[in-house]
């Protein structure tokens, strides 16, 4: 007998170009069959999910999350962070290395992805590009990749030195993984706590300029060109959480020139502007910061025209006491796993007319492709049974107090969402179910 049979749903699988009524059979953690309605009439399964009126899509993939374990489990743990991921429809997440200690060794990486951590969705790790993320000496890319690394980054900080970044790009190119860059020239952003502009001026806060992001993106693109020319290597630069129109346009040009550049945009950067800081709301403080309306619109334009490869949350939980500080002292970051789909559907699908299939591509197939997750981000027969079932028409309000994350630092408490996750299945296991979960809360 099979494990799960999902009937009557509308399958949206951009990777295989399917968008139609399909029934789906899951067996031993894999997609065993995808058939037109009625085609699986004979199949027997332990569990049957009636997805009538629902979208059945590949489980979402978030290539940018902070799960805070090891070292800061008062903010989040791998178990709670991945529970939040499951509730948000994600079946794969990529953990950033800025834990305590920094994930820069094979032992650290293995410990993180060990089953004993209790991850309830598939956890991948992107270890540090440099030891201790100090930006000076690159880590052992070969060994780390063999242990499962899907890319390298010093996220939270940029790799600032040209020589070190070049070395990292060359080393990563040799093994076919990206270097993910947090693009911020920190020499220009000391003491800054929000976007530079009239709002920052009025609030008396030092602002991070658009240049601070653009300069690093510009430099990295220059390095890519130089590596192609002099090393005959096709290095892969992934630009994390793009937030400015300037950086978006640099990436668009680099792509047109045929360079291997990919990028992500976070839901908050296509939803909010720096006005959301309001009365010094630390839940609107993150890095890169919320920008001006023109930048927000540039994020949407990039998402619509294909410059942006994926949506990533930059889920960054912090304890309440840390956020209940003076704005300039409070740490950067907001949670995002449970609001990403709802915001993407609200702003991009409902607001901008992007098809659900495109939204799915930006949240599953394409991010899976950036970090080369085999058999994920698609529901082709034989791939992992990573599935999200959601009601794309449901409109609801997110309530931070119901979050599965240990932390509540979100500017979207009470915000409108479009699309409700009804079930999340990871490798054939149901890891989240709406009705059952809500009844308990």
């Amino acid at each position: 007998m099979s494990d799960i049979l999902i009937l009557n749903g509308r399958l949206v699988d951009p990777a295989s170009g399917v968008e139609a009524e399909r029934d789906l059979l899951v067996r031993r953690g894999r997609v065993a069959a995808v058939e037109a309605p009625g085609g699986l009439r004979e199949a027997k399964a332990k569990e049957v999910i009636d997805a009538a009126g629902m979208i059945v899509a590949p489980g979402l993939v978030d290539i940018h999350v902070h799960l805070r374990e090891p070292g800061q489990t008062y903010k989040e743990s791998i178990a709670t962070g991945t529970a939040a991921a499951a509730a948000g429809g994600f079946t794969s997440v990529v953990a950033m290395p800025n834990t305590v200690p920094v994930n820069d060794s094979v032992a650290g990486l293995q410990w993180m992805v060990d089953a004993a951590r209790g991850a309830c969705v598939k956890l991948f790790a992107m270890p540090a590009a440099t030891f201790g993320s100090m930006g000076e000496e690159i880590t052992d890319f070969h060994e780390l990749q063999r242990a499962g690394a899907v890319g390298f980054t010093d996220d939270g900080k940029p790799v600032l030195h040209d020589r070190v970044m070049r070395e990292a790009l060359v080393a990563a190119a040799g093994i076919g993984v990206p270097v993910s860059q947090h693009a911020e020239d920190t020499r220009l952003t000391g003491g800054c706590s929000m976007n530079a502009g009239p709002v920052a001026f009025r609030l008396g806060l030092r602002g991070m300029t658009v240049e601070a992001e653009a300069l690093i993106v510009e430099r990295d693109i220059r390095l890519l060109k130089d590596i192609e020319r002099s090393e005959r290597l096709r290095a892969h630069l992934h630009v994390q959480h793009v937030s400015t129109a300037r950086a978006m346009s640099l990436i668009r040009t680099a792509k047109a020139e045929g360079l291997h550049v990919t990028c992500e945009v976070a839901p908050h950067h296509f939803t909010l502007t720096d006005e959301a800081v309001g009365d010094y709301d630390t839940n609107a403080k993150m890095n890169p910061p919320l920008r001006a309306e023109a930048d927000r619109l540039a994020m949407i334009a990039g998402l619509m025209d294909g410059t942006v490869d994926c949506i990533a949350t930059d889920h960054a939980p912090h304890a309440r006491f840390e956020k209940e500080q003076e704005f300039e002292r409070a740490p950067n970051g907001i949670t995002g796993l449970e609001t990403a789909l709802g915001l993407a559907l609200r702003v991009l699908h409902k607001g901008q007319g992007m098809t659900v299939s495109r939204v799915m591509a930006l949240m599953s197939a394409q991010p899976a492709g950036i970090v080369s997750l085999e058999g994920r981000g698609t529901l082709k027969v034989g791939s992992f049974a990573d599935v999200v079932v959601f009601d794309s028409a449901a409109e609801w309000s997110f309530e931070a107090k119901r979050s599965r994350s240990k932390s509540r630092n979100t500017p979207f408490d009470g915000a409108g969402m479009v699309g409700r996750v009804m079930a999340t299945i990871c490798e054939g296991r149901v890891v989240y179910r709406y009705a059952a979960a809500e009844a308990k809360r």
């Binding site: 000391g190 003491g191 530079a196 502009g197 009239p198 709002v199 920052a200 001026f201 009025r202 609030l203 008396g204 806060l205 009365d279 010094y280 006491f321 209940e324 500080q325 003076e326 704005f327 300039e328 002292r329």
Partner: protein, 336 residues
């Protein structure tokens, strides 16, 4: 007196801050400004024994994370003249040194009976945090580079008292029509500049901000209607009825290269410049001033100067602000 409209207080309360708080001038309605100034007049004229009964026995905490002479002393003297009990907590001699958070410090003061907290803090926005965490009325006595609302109110009162023809005028959106106020110097780091530039235009004044690009970015225009930038000090002065000089804030200026000799040449207010460009302008300075840098000693002590008067108005305005903070229904309950 002008009666307090209940809607004024509920607007503040709906944002989650206790009525009577003064965190910014930005959301202070002009009628509220009028009420504060009217109350200031009343308390100033009151017999001191009567005044001392106004807040007899009420507890006011002064929480100072930055040094201060004028603001602290005037708030303290104002509170004492109203009969209130004051306590001063500074970052140098309290558990703040041991790492206690602003929220916990506020809760501790509340537990000790403080009914109102006057806060001076190096971080912009700190008074909002304190007001949200304690639910108490908080008076912003200067927060980082953000605002210094009581300074703007005392500056307004000084202008009304000193400029010819303004005394006794009704306070409304046209009170300062035809008055140009030049604010010169380190605008970027100045909370006084922000509060004045946001308050004075709402009473009809034109505010000209003046200073070099490093100290006065174009974003300053976003402070609101009625704010302009004029980088040529002489040109600005020629339009001025009032000129406010600001100190260069060395403590906040980290990393900025500034040629002081050149700055003095272009922006110092000295007798020569004043008599050439604005011989009758009122000269103001929120203090502390650095004589010989942004202002010459002769001008500071000269006949145009209202600098000491500003300090006296500060005491009076802060008296009214304390009464406002500690009266559930604005000034109504203490009207005599």
């Amino acid at each position: 007196m002008t009666s307090m409209t209940p809607s004024v207080h509920s607007a503040v309360e709906s944002a989650g801050y206790a009525a009577g708080s003064l965190l910014t001038v930005a959301d202070l309605p002009v009628v509220e400004v009028a009420a504060i100034l009217a109350a200031t007049d009343r308390f100033e004229q009151m017999v001191s024994t009567d005044r001392a009964r106004t807040l007899a026995g009420r507890r006011i905490a002064l929480l100072f994370y930055e040094s201060s002479t004028r603001t602290r002393t005037s708030f303290e003297l104002a509170a004492k003249s109203l009969g209130a009990i004051t306590t001063l907590v500074s970052d140098k001699s309290s558990s703040i040194e041991k790492g206690e958070s602003l929220k916990d410090t506020g809760l501790t003061l509340r537990a000790l009976g403080a009914e109102c907290i006057i806060l001076r803090h190096a971080n912009s926005g700190a008074p909002y945090l304190l007001a949200r965490s304690t639910g108490l009325p908080v008076l912003n006595a200067g927060d980082g580079m953000h605002e210094h609302p009581s300074q703007a109110l005392l500056d307004l009162r000084t202008i009304l008292a000193r400029l010819p023809g303004l005394r006794g005028r009704l306070i409304n959106g046209r009170t300062l029509e035809g008055v140009t106020v030049v604010i010169t110097g380190d605008i970027l780091h100045s909370r006084v500049a922000r509060s004045n530039a946001m308050l004075l235009p709402r009473l009809g004044a034109e505010v000209l901000l003046c200073g070099p690009k490093e100290l006065l970015p174009e974003e300053a225009l976003g402070l609101g209607e009625g704010v302009e930038i004029e980088r040529d000090f002489d040109k600005a002065l020629k339009r001025a009825q009032v000129v406010m000089m600001l100190r260069i804030q060395q403590e906040r200026i980290a990393g900025l290269e500034l040629d002081l000799a050149d700055y003095i040449l272009r922006y110092q207010l000295n007798e020569e410049r004043l008599s050439a460009c604005a011989p009758s302008a009122l000269v103001m300075h929120p203090g502390p001033m650095i004589r010989g840098l942004e202002i010459s000693g002769e001008v500071a002590d000269g006949p145009n100067s209202a600098i000491e008067e500003q300090v006296r108005h500060g005491l009076a305005v802060r008296t009214a602000l304390l009464v406002r903070a500690l009266s559930a229904d604005g000034f109504a309950s203490v009207t005599v």
